[in-house]
């Protein structure tokens, strides 16, 4: 059975770029679409941003709450702690 997509929409700016890179690295099935002023990312069932991956890319500590600054929208349940930000469907 195919899983429903979760969705994350970010502003197309400098701060979102490393997040997209981290997402692509840790979520093999994520699809990234560039739209006017925004980036839409979908992934079957689940999508995770790992703080560890982000920190490797940007070379400093990264708090998942920094996502608040570039987040436009999402679809799915949220699970967040200091080391990850995850969106998932429970079905």
């Amino acid at each position: 059975m195919s899983q429903n997509n979760v969705m994350l929409v970010l502003q197309a700016n400098e701060e979102a770029r490393p997040m997209v890179e981290a997402i692509q690295k840790d979520n093999q099935d994520a699809i990234v679409e560039n739209q006017p002023a925004m980036i839409k990312i979908t992934s079957p069932g689940k999508l995770v941003i790992k703080a560890e991956t982000m920190e490797e890319i940007i070379g400093r500590e990264w708090d998942p709450q920094e996502l608040q600054l570039v987040l436009i929208s999402l679809a799915g349940n949220v699970d967040e702690d200091y080391d990850h930000f995850t969106i998932y469907w429970d079905n």
């Binding site: 006017p36 925004m38 500590e61 600054l69 929208s73 999402l74 949220v78 967040e80 079905n91």
Partner: protein, 506 residues
């Protein structure tokens, strides 16, 4: 500089921190808890453990202020740059500005109403988890209305149709649609308000308002609007999560809550959908360059995401709202029927209307292959012919309004396969006849007739002599809409003259 990112600073985990920073309530002893929180049990929702409430973002006040402050700094930097560079000259076309007028008059005042609503429920839930979350949302909503007014005040320096937005929201006929939507939600109990605004509007529908519209603003060169839109939307993502948490919390607390919640989902998905009709028209007709049609946005943000969402809620016994079939049938027609209504009533609205040109009509044919050429293009061609003969058609009749959603009876029997037949339902309550645009609006009325008989219906109020007089000029005076300045066609307007002067197209 060397930094080992593997060794992160040790600190309280987020869950613990969230608990310490948000559980600030106590059992009252001088007064009975039921007297301190009188509103959170009369709706029939049973809560056994308020502690089970948890914000998935684990947002606490310290990080809230930090991130909101950063967002505002970015936003105001862009607004300043926009104004300093006279960037209003760089939008695609001044027709686009009418979409902003509709936004400021129809949407921004709702942000304020949402602020009032969330402040109210934040006081009235006895659990401190939802209280803190609703309090933050109340502050967010106040921020939204302020940033929107600040951003659009720049357009007010150069274009008509912005100056009296607050006054218009309270008086102008079609603005009673969004206004009454929020009045309805704010006069409900706190749990219904959470399902109405937190879940149905924020989670299920708000993407349709902000995402494609703001992406459209970017597509039309309006960086200021994009920025306030996305800055607000970053809060919306948090609100959506709150809405989803609220519904799950209610469903998990007691099985008796399920049918009550289902009734609210059915009601508020339909109410929200009707309000968003204005957005369908903005997307398909008012953006000179449209990145996406209403139908495409609907399919993506409603149909696709909603299927997944309701599959998630299935385990509680919740099903897809019963209006889903109607809204699916209407997506090929909605924006056309609404724009046609505004085109014909353009004398009584404080923004400009126009006929779609050939290029726009070809785009609409492509996006709506089953309906546009068959039902709508011929009407536009007819009106274009009349315009050419100097007989531009304005309706002088006041429309019949639906008692529930307050939208003129413009919708047709699409679900029944009769898209040219106006839909009309009615019911008798206390010896008086009330009219409706649809079965869903009729059902909502019949469920709480005492509430909806109190509605302030603009057309009835005009006929009763409560709106300045019985003629259009008198009513427009009462609205503070300047005839020939704020209303009528874009072609021939001051807005058009300004635009042409800027671009050397005298």
């Amino acid at each position: 500089m060397t930094m080992n990112t593997k060794n992160r600073k040790k600190r309280l985990n987020m869950k613990e921190k969230y608990k310490h920073m948000t559980r600030l309530g106590w059992e009252t002893s001088y007064q009975d808890m039921d007297k301190v929180f009188p509103y959170d049990n009369y709706e029939g929702i049973k809560i056994h453990d308020w502690e089970a409430w948890e914000d998935p973002f684990r947002m606490t006040m310290d990080s809230y202020w930090k991130y909101q402050g950063e967002k505002d700094k970015k936003l105001y930097a862009i607004i300043d740059a926009f104004a300093q560079n006279n960037a209003q000259k760089n939008i695609t076309d001044a027709r686009y500005v009418s979409a902003l007028k509709l936004f400021l008059t129809g949407v921004s005042p709702l942000e304020y109403q949402a602020h009032r609503g969330f402040a109210h429920v934040a006081r009235n839930f006895r659990g401190d988890g939802p209280r803190v979350a609703c309090q933050m949302q109340a502050i967010d909503e106040l921020r939204h209305v302020q940033t929107q007014i600040h951003t659009l005040s720049h357009y007010n320096k150069h274009f008509n149709g912005f100056s009296e937005f607050a006054h218009w929201h309270d008086r102008v006929w079609y603005l009673s649609v969004p206004k009454s939507f929020f009045d309805d939600a704010r006069t409900a109990g706190p749990f219904e308000f959470m399902i109405a605004i937190g879940f149905s509007f924020e989670y299920v529908l708000t993407n349709l308002l902000f995402v494609p519209f703001m992406s459209g603003a970017a597509y039309n060169g309006d960086m200021a609007t994009v920025t306030f839109g996305f800055s607000a939307q970053s809060d919306e993502a948090r609100h959506m999560t709150l809405g989803l948490q609220a519904i799950k919390f209610m469903l998990e607390q007691d099985p008796a809550n399920v049918p009550i919640v289902q009734g609210w989902i059915d009601k508020w998905t339909w109410r929200g959908y009707k309000v968003l009709g204005l957005v369908s028209m903005m997307m398909d007709y008012m953006l000179p360059e449209s990145p996406q049609s209403w139908k495409e946005a609907w399919e993506l943000y409603f149909e696709e995401n909603t299927v997944a969402l309701f599959k998630d809620l299935e385990r509680y016994g919740i099903k897809v709202p019963d209006c889903a079939g109607t809204v699916a049938a209407e997506k090929d027609h909605l924006s056309h029927q609404i724009w046609m209504t505004f085109y014909t009533h353009g004398a009584a609205a404080p923004f400009h209307t126009w006929l779609p040109d050939e290029k726009k009509m070809d785009w609409l044919s492509e996006k709506y292959p089953d309906t546009f050429d068959k039902y709508y293009r011929p009407v536009y061609e007819h009106w274009a012919k009349l315009e050419k003969e100097g007989k531009r058609y304005y309706s002088e009749m006041l429309p019949q309004l639906c008692q529930t959603c307050q939208i003129p009876m413009l919708y047709t029997e699409i679900e029944k396969g009769e898209p040219t037949q106006i839909a009309h339902r009615h019911t008798i309550f206390n010896g008086e006849r009330f009219h409706f645009c649809s079965d869903h609006c009729k059902d909502i009325f019949e469920n709480e007739p005492e509430k909806y008989t109190h509605a302030w219906m603009p057309v009835q109020q005009i006929f009763q002599g409560n709106c300045g007089g019985a003629t259009l000029p008198e009513v427009l005076d009462w609205y503070k809409v300047k005839f020939g300045t704020d209303n009528l066609d874009y072609v021939g307007s001051e807005d058009e003259a300004t635009w042409k002067q800027w671009h050397g197209q005298e």
